[in-house]
């Protein structure tokens, strides 16, 4: 029997829906730019069966992938579960077999496999398109390949056996100059190991290099940045150990005394030449961009001074600190010609932003200008009677790193936005000329809406209405028809009887 009564969200907008969905020809208001041909692909998760313990993290929810396929101004929607071994095992047992976040010691003995923790992945974090394939990612396992048209799960992918690490980041980077995929796995050789393995993979899917690095302490290497000279990895705050896992805790706790390290690995090096810089405690869950500037390296990221996730406990047992959890746009400068291990950190603006920042990806690893993300703009109205008291990310913004100018788009007074994505208008369009796309939760009408916004003028061009609230998103990306083999005619053939 399925019973969510004691789950974290037994009712309301956040409660699980548990179904897969297809909508042919969605309801649209406004005009979708006719040059958009591709799909906005979201990956997130929800509980198919309730968590086994109330202190588990939302990051343990079952992976779910959805697609807004856009072509010729019309939209078709599809959503499917990612069929990981964990998901299938739970279905077979008709109950939750798995314990708390990335701790196999807490799993049911029938699925407890300490040597293969990746079998318990939920693939719920991020989509990736590379080499004509679509993947659902989570940083504790290999990528799960997904059919880009049906969203059926095709299974884990190891690049024909060339990718040796046990894990694969949810935030690999594509170098816009070479077209190569830069990806990595931390805890690469097993639970709580200090191995970071970095791979460069060519567009044809062949591994060009493998670099092995030891990290200062085992932590969430959730994201990285790239320049044309370096792979760069932040190590920060969250800690784990086999002892901690044996004691039945979640994989991560936040150590407010742990320093932040930034590791620089030359892209043509072998890992023995890694250089670590050290700074004060922070969390760099996501990054913005990085680039070389003579002997200096500039790294931009939305950084908080403390734990941004209240469901990952403090190591010292103290309460979560919501003030330290706030993110601001920051610029770090590393002097590679100097001999010390310090760096400078500048807060570009004190505004509290959502740390799911994006750029025009054509400028990844290169000098750039614009940052996009969401924020809770207190100057805009929020109808708490109709929408409840959830913190509302009511605004997408563009921040100019050169001038400090803000441009904003307000979505509505009963809405909260998920991560934004930038789409260039054309392949050769200047930086910032294009569209913003993302989904919003409409709390009052209990549905999900897709918004498409002019990225320069910041006004809405079109809104797509789903007649239901879709599964929460972690990350989403836009992939054009030149990146994935989308079907031209998604209308399925009719094979049934007809009246003569």
């Amino acid at each position: 029997m399925v019973d969510f009564t004691n789950g974290p969200a037994p009712a309301g907008f956040m409660s699980p829906q548990r179904f897969e969905a297809e909508i042919y020809d969605c309801e649209v208001e406004g005009t979708i730019p006719p040059d958009l041909n591709g799909a906005f692909i979201r990956v997130g998760g929800e509980w198919f069966y309730p968590p086994s313990r109330p202190d588990d993290s939302p990051f343990s929810t079952d992976g779910y992938i959805s697609s807004f396929r856009i072509k010729d101004g019309v939209v078709d929607f599809r959503a499917r579960w990612v069929q990981t071994p964990r998901f299938r095992n739970n279905l077979a047992a008709r109950k939750q077999l798995y314990g708390v976040y990335r701790n196999p010691f807490t799993h049911d003995p029938s699925v407890r496999d300490l040597d293969r923790p990746y079998l318990a992945t939920v693939a719920n974090t991020s989509p990736l398109a590379f080499g004509g394939k679509l993947f659902a990612l989570k940083e504790d396992a290999h990528p799960y390949e997904i059919d880009p048209n049906t969203l059926e799960t095709l299974g884990p992918w190891d690049f024909n056996g060339q990718y040796k690490a046990q894990t694969f980041s949810a935030h690999p980077k594509i170098d816009p100059v070479s077209g190569d995929l830069i990806c990595y796995g931390y805890e690469a050789t097993g639970l709580c190991t200090d191995d970071l393995w970095i791979y460069t993979i060519s567009p044809d899917g062949n591994v060009k290099s493998e670099v092995k690095v030891k990290v200062p302490y085992v932590s969430t290497l959730h994201d990285m940045v790239l320049t044309q000279k370096y792979f760069i990895f932040p190590v920060y705050g969250y800690v784990t150990s086999m002892e901690r896992l044996r004691d039945g805790h979640l994989h991560w706790a936040f150590d407010r005394n742990a320093p932040t390290y930034w590791g620089f690995v030359p892209r043509d090096g072998d890992g023995s030449d890694v250089r670590w810089f050290r700074g004060p405690t922070s969390v760099v869950m996501h990054t913005t961009n990085a680039f070389d500037e003579g002997d200096k390296v500039i790294v931009d990221a939305p950084i908080s001074d403390g734990n941004p996730f209240p469901f990952f406990p403090q190591l010292d047992g103290g309460p979560w600190d919501p003030v330290a959890a706030r993110h601001t746009i920051r610029r770090l400068t590393f002097d590679m010609a100097a001999t010390g291990d310090s760096y400078t950190e500048q807060i570009m603006d004190p505004t509290d932003i959502v740390d799911l920042v994006r750029i025009d990806d054509r400028f990844n690893s290169l000098p750039y200008r614009y940052v996009y993300s969401g924020m809770a703009d207190p100057s805009q109205p929020f109808d708490r009677e109709r929408a409840g008291n959830n913190r509302a990310v009511n605004t997408y913004f563009r921040y100019d790193m050169e001038t400090g100018e803000w441009r904003k788009y307000f979505v509505g007074d009963v809405h909260s936005l998920q991560e934004v994505t930038f789409i260039p208008r054309r392949a050769d369009a200047p930086e910032g000329d294009g569209y913003l796309i993302g989904t919003a939760s409409n709390f009052a009408d209990m549905r999900t809406e897709l918004v498409i916004v002019d990225a320069q003028e910041m006004h809405e061009l079109a809104r797509v209405y789903l007649p239901f609230r879709n599964t929460p998103q972690v990350h989403a990306r836009w992939y054009g028809s030149n990146e994935l083999p989308f079907a031209d005619t998604p209308l399925p053939p009719y094979t049934g009887r007809r009246q003569a």
């Binding site: 009564t5 789950g7 956040m14 313990r53 202190d55 939302p58 996730f309 009677e385 409840g388």
Partner: protein, 91 residues
Amino acid sequence: MSNSTLILNRRQWLAGAGTLASGLPFRVLGTTDVETTAQLLPAQRSVHDGMAYVSFDGTGTPWQAPLDSNRTRDYVNSLSREEYLRRHWQI
């Protein structure tokens, strides 16, 4: 565990979910010796950046369901099933 904690069964939730929302403390079932300060406070269903979780340290923002979706609750509850069907379904 606080005396104010409740165990709600599914039927009770469905009957009162809108107004009870997620702010009420509830008893944590099957909890092992998890992190720390939690045991001193009632667990509370909370929401953070669109993600539902259970707060154990009193810092969580309780989710409150929109009133709009429950606006007709009292009216509907005041009617007998027969009267509801007669008025709204012409049965």
